[in-house]
Amino acid sequence: MTTAALSQPQPRRRPRHWGTYAVWIVMFLMAIVFLMPVYVMVANGLKDAQSVSLQRMWLPPAQLSTDNGFAGAWQRLQPNMMNSLLMVIPATILSSLIGAINGYLFAKWKFRGSDIVFTLMLFGFFIPYQSVLLPLVRTLQILGVYGTIPGLVLVHVIYGIPITTLIFRNYFAGVPTELMDAARVDGAGLITTFTRVMLPLSIPAFVVVGIFQFTNIWNDFLFGVTVVPNPAAQPVTIALNNLSGTFSVEWNVVMAGAVLAALPTAIIYILLGRFFIRGILAGSVKG
């Protein structure tokens, strides 16, 4: 169907004929398929305990009561949502700042072997973290932050360095060096050039990196589940998985919980989608 539609020769300002409609209909059907799980989450989350059932999964809620799944999910997940926020905000800010300085240095102050050092750092973004978990847990225990939110912040900041450095490095590489030269003629050093010239220019990069890191860290599961064994201190992704594995809990609560856990990143995506896409392109190494 798509190939038939595409085989119609199309001038740039193309008249509307059946090929155009066919493409539009295909996109429309795809959009329905893509939104189907979102519908399942929201519709079942809004049902109350009596009306949620396997047989009525695809039906919208019959009536809206205050006794819906969201009330139960919020009550159970609210402390973990808080944990996630306390983890993601400092970790995003710190890893963005470190990435900005590193990226500036790697882009504008290349030294012998700097590209190799950078590549060795970047490798850390791709490794399966399973290969560092055991010594990581021991180290956090020695540092006294095992099982705590500050421990998770430390983990996310360190393992975030490679990707934040990469995105800032690519961004600063695109800033003309002439801008730096002007400041340097005025006597600005390496750090002053960064704070006076580069930092004010880098707001868009901070937005991109900030969204990228916020999404990654909020959505993390592996570090949360291995570094924090105490359920009360765990981030929301782990709490959602625990909730979903409990048989006594109704499906409406699980689905509402999924919506709650998805909400912060979904809101950011809806409000700042443009920067989100830029982050994807910047984060894919070659861009």
Binding site: S7, M27, I127, Q130, A261, T265
Partner: protein, 345 residues
């Protein structure tokens, strides 16, 4: 002060008022040092430690770093385990289905969007939306959609598909999805004819059917990401290129097949490398959606590591599996990073 003979410093800061300063190269390295040291420890030292543990006798709560005899005995033990053999098979099958689905769908969506029809921005945002969600959210929802008692099977029932099938004398469509232990297209017999040692395999090498729903859920989450990379790539191809191809008499389909898609080769390489490393590491999605599955039908190396290390305290076994995961990812990533490095310099 200003009359320094160091030409680099002279060029760098002709109006420096300070009496003493570090060279800027030294400042650069000093500023980078905390990051470099942190990553040297948290990546390379930690990996070395895990590798050592994989060679050691440590498999109780009590730490024991003495080397196990013979060297690599834990690896030999692991590769003889039915569960690990199933994990390797499952990762292989998942990778193939997931990458085939996600690249095909992502490229198709990008081509559809490339026509810039009314509302294409809305469609793009819908297709990319799942990428903003956690794998855990995806797993929790798709686990219900692929629940044999409801979800898609209920939809087949309600839409009358099963009624039509039974009327036509066929079996109703009621797959077990993630609960199906069946392995189809078994190749042990064929492989045994070519490879020695296949007789010792404890699992059927074929397609575990339960892995396909997991690949579909992963595709839902990541095909929008693939689409975004292709859309980014297509934006760099000027309209003149398409016009030239059209003037040469290419149909719209040929413009993409013969001109655009070949020009997007670097994007395709990035896409495949990124998806490969995602699929080799996949953990949260499978863990929340299907778990280890019936007869390890949906078990993957990442779950194996997690359970050996954090549930069974068989640290050497879990570490050996983690090192194999690292090697598999490195086989994909190291050539990719090396080529990036070469292009830069």
């Amino acid at each position: 002060m200003t009359a320094t003979t160091d030409s680099a410093a002279l060029r760098a800061r002709p109006l420096d008022r300070r009496r003493w300063h570090l060279s800027e190269q030294a400042q650069t390295i000093l500023l980078l040092l905390p990051s470099i040291l942190a990553l040297a420890v948290f990546i390379y030292v930690f990996i070395s430690f895990t590798f050592w543990v994989s060679l050691s006798n440590w498999r109780t709560l009590k730490i024991d770093l003495t080397l196990r005899e013979p060297l690599f005995a834990t690896y030999a033990e692991m590769f003889a385990m039915a569960r690990w053999q199933a994990d390797l098979r499952n990762t292989f099958v998942f990778t193939i289905f997931f990458i085939a689905f996600a690249v095909t769908l992502g490229l198709t969506l990008a081509i559809l969007l490339d026509r810039h029809l009314a509302g294409h921005n809305v469609f793009r945002n819908i297709f990319l939306f799942p990428y903003a969600l956690s794998f855990v959210v995806t797993g929790v929802v798709w686990r219900w959609i692929f629940n044999p008692e409801t979800g898609l099977n209920l939809l087949f029932e309600v839409l009358g598909i099963n009624y039509l099938l039974t009327q036509a004398g066929m079996a109703p469509l009621k797959p077990g999805w993630i609960t199906d232990p069946t392995v189809v297209a078994e190749v042990n017999g064929i492989l045994a004819a070519v490879l020695p040692g296949v007789d010792a395999w404890q699992v059927k090498w074929g397609i575990p059917l339960a892995m396909i729903p997991v690949a579909i859920a992963a595709t839902w989450q990541l095909s929008g990401f693939v689409m975004a990379l292709y859309v980014g790539g297509m934006a760099t191809i000027s309209d003149e290129v398409r016009e030239a191809a059209r003037i040469d008499g290419a149909s719209e389909f040929q413009v993409y097949r013969k001109v655009i898609i070949p020009m997007l080769r670097p994007v395709t390489i990035s896409v495949v490398v990124i998806l490969l490393h995602v699929s080799l590491k996949i953990f949260d999605l499978v863990y929340t959606m299907a778990g280890v599955g019936p007869g390890f039908a949906t078990d993957v190396p990442a779950i194996f590591v997690f359970e050996q290390m954090f549930k069974a305290t068989r640290y050497n076994l879990g570490s050996a599996a983690a090192i194999i995961m690292l090697v598999l990812v490195a086989l994909v990533i190291v050539p990719y990073l090396a080529s990036t490095l070469r292009e830069d310099s």
